[in-house]
Symmetry: C2
Subunit: 355 residues, 2 copies
Amino acid sequence: MSGPGHAHARIGTPGAGRPVARATMKDVAALAGVSLKTVSRVVNGEAGVSAAVRERVEHAASRLDYSHNVHASNLRRASSRTGTVGALLQDVSNSFSASLLRTLEDVARARQTAVLAASLDEEEDREIALVRGLVARRVDGLVLMPATSRHEYLAAELRAGLPTVFVDRLPHGVDADSVTVDNVLGSRHAVEHLVRHGHRRIAVLLDLGTIQTAQDRLRGCREAMDAAGIPADDRVEVRDLRTSDAAEAAVRAFYRGGPSPTAIFAGRNDLAIGAVRALRSLGLSHRVAVIGFDDFPLADLLDPAMTVVRQNVGQIGAEVGRLLFARIAGDTSPPRRVVIEPTLVVRGSGEIRPS
Amino acid sequence: MSGPGHAHARIGTPGAGRPVARATMKDVAALAGVSLKTVSRVVNGEAGVSAAVRERVEHAASRLDYSHNVHASNLRRASSRTGTVGALLQDVSNSFSASLLRTLEDVARARQTAVLAASLDEEEDREIALVRGLVARRVDGLVLMPATSRHEYLAAELRAGLPTVFVDRLPHGVDADSVTVDNVLGSRHAVEHLVRHGHRRIAVLLDLGTIQTAQDRLRGCREAMDAAGIPADDRVEVRDLRTSDAAEAAVRAFYRGGPSPTAIFAGRNDLAIGAVRALRSLGLSHRVAVIGFDDFPLADLLDPAMTVVRQNVGQIGAEVGRLLFARIAGDTSPPRRVVIEPTLVVRGSGEIRPS
DNA sequence: CTGTCTCGTGACAACGTTGTCAGGACGATT
DNA sequence: AATCGTCCTGACAACGTTGTCACGAGACAG
């Protein structure tokens, strides 16, 4: 207690402990009067330690608040798993990424694995920096919803055997597992649905043109329109919409002496919400049809309830987890591309007929 | 290429690399024809390496796909930071936890720190196990939205100086930083608001009674009702509601020959949503007032738009980040208890008068 | 030419842990 | 009594890295 290092150490207050070094196996060994290796045996529950010694060690460990250092342990161990995986998603606060993270977390926890989560916000540099950080932390696996469109920068890691699963977007330039949604199909179905309800002037709201899913969704729309003989119309095809507010403004513009579409397909859930806000304020929410891509909480409570193309997030997350941990467990079969079919959820807003 | 270990190693396929060991500084040193220590100097950008040697080392490193091992580095370094913090939240897929995580992540990223995220789902054992795991991983700090009601189990860690910030719920039995919302105040304001609009039969929906915030919210309601001279009524005070569905069922029961409250205060956002579903299906959504605790996306788009008590999540997250990283940076001042005042956001559902 | 100083580089120990192996105590077998 | 095997325990090296120190080469002053 009077040692120089402890002189001013208070107990139980936040900053008090910094000077107090953590107890190591060596300290526990000294207190228990055994060798370091014996402590290691006890801590790891190995056989070949007498009950008396085991008890002495455990007592010493708890008296010193000993906590195992997994980093040192992994460093020494033969085939070191860090028990950590990384998840780089678009934005952990949006409901799609958040649900995905949650499902992955559940799978990981069942395997004693922790999840490092981060948001990319479609920033390419951030993705590359974060991947580097995760590799430096020696994560056992990586789940990636990429912001980049080319993934050669990952080649070395993949070659080194880093289990990697792409989600929502396909890998380009490297070969890796992926779990994606058939965006072309989903948006084609949505637009076909609108056409079937009599629409010919259908607006399309889309995210950043650099994002794969946005491109695919556009393609799906075009296919459906081509099949219906509806010519492409630049005035109602708005791209590079990043926010709900941008979508709202775009939709407002449609009806200010503009093309006045009778239906709107929104290529992302918050764009759909922006569209609803605009229509609501224009008094058009019961006169213009809306279908959004990606379901969201409360879509059924809006008025009219929103018809959406649903990506089954639970299924996506489960597939991602399954693939990732199979690789971590040593599965070396060729990369798999799991494609999940989205479904149209009919709720009302997509069934409004043109007036 | 003909070495025995590489004979069957394919390139670029997921499982190909497992047998290929990662290059270490030793390997880089050998290839560059320098000592290991020189590689360390180059990798860490230390001074005292000639340009020629530096270039040779960098070239060798990239040829071997060398990646720095932060765990070994931290182990050796004097004052080791792992550059990782842990966030144990209620459920990373609910919008409150997710937003909090997101804000924390932004603060952390600015400090080159990664975030380990996990959900507790109000399970006490899981909290304890996860904290142990985070400590074993030597996180630099911990953000905790506890499922437990007593926190003595953290005493040793706090004593050892683990920077810890409680969020949404206060620490009990130990002294630590916290950022909470004044739940009593918020719910008192909500009920006062209902009383002011003429309500005397006000139902209260609450989460698990073991959760601190639920207790506080109940207390706030009671204070407001006492002040208004409204006697407590067990029939309209429903506790231990875990899900939106449970809330929906409870509200349905109110109007099946039950007490028929003229207003409902829901102590959590998804309970409020359950209430809305029930009222909607009973055709009462414009006749019974509803106020929810905690704002949520689209609350303004419901019909009627929902009046809520808003906890400013951005502010909470920012405070948590600020406190946590101040501690990590060495701040040893006494623990702080930051309390944030929630505000009533008036939107319509809370201003319906009794019929 | 010698001595000193600086600069670039390397040898070695150490961080906290685990795998390998060897040794001592003890009871059982010859 | 000598030999063997079993059980428990410890000494030591190693994982990949960095801090410390020492050494050799060249520059420069005396």
